[in-house]
Subunit: 105 residues, 2 copies
C-alpha cells in the first residue's frame, strides 16, 4: 500500500484496529467510529469497505443470530490483517510526523 492510498485509507486502518480489540459487526462498528469522534461514516462507506477487506483477506466473518433484526456478521482479523494493522500504524506515525512538521515546523 502506497503512502497515497494511506491518505485515502486512514479509516481502513482504524477499522482494523477496532476489530483487533474484539470481533464486531458492521452496524456496531459504525456506532463505535462515531464514539471515537469520526463524523459521519455511513453504512454506505462501512459495508463496502468490510467486503473489500474480506476480499483482501484481512478479515474473516461469521454470522451470528441477533436479538432483534437479521443475523450479525461478526468480523475478526486474519494474520494478514494483523500484519497490515502493524504496517498501518507505522505509516500513520510517519504521516503524523510529516504533517505536524509542515503545520507546526
Amino acid at each position: 500500500m502506497s503512502s497515497t492510498q494511506m491518505l485515502k485509507g486512514i479509516i481502513d486502518g482504524c477499522i482494523l484496529a477496532i476489530i483487533q480489540e474484539k470481533e464486531i459487526y458492521g452496524y456496531e462498528l459504525a456506532e463505535k467510529l462515531e464514539q471515537y469522534g469520526f463524523d459521519s461514516f455511513s453504512e454506505g462507506t462501512i459495508y463496502p469497505l468490510l467486503i473489500r477487506m474480506q476480499k483482501e483477506e484481512l478479515v474473516t466473518s461469521t454470522l451470528k443470530k441477533s436479538t432483534a433484526g437479521p443475523k450479525r456478521k461478526y468480523y475478526s482479523l486474519t494474520q494478514k490483517g494483523k500484519n497490515e494493522l502493524q504496517q498501518f500504524m507505522v505509516r500513520w506515525d510517519k504521516l503524523q510526523n510529516s504533517v505536524n512538521h509542515v503545520l507546526y515546523k
Copy 2:
C-alpha cells in the same frame, strides 16, 4: 469540506501551510514535500491540485522568469486560503485525536 474529504485531502492542507510560509512554485513544492517526509508526490498529483485550489480561490499565482527552464508559477494564499488552512488545522487536530484514540486507546 466534510471529514471524509479531509481524509482524502490531507495533502491539500499541507500545501496550503507550505504556501503560507512563502510563495512557492509547483516544482519546488514537490521537492519540499519530499523533504518533509512525504513519499512520492508526483507532479501528476501536485499540478492538478494547485489548479484546483486556484479554481476554488484558495491561492493566486503569478509567473516569474526562471534561471533555467520555463516560467515559474508562484502561488500564494488568498484570504479564503488562509481561512481554509485554519479550518484544516482544526480538522487535522480532531482527526489525529480520533485515530490515536482508536490506535492507542
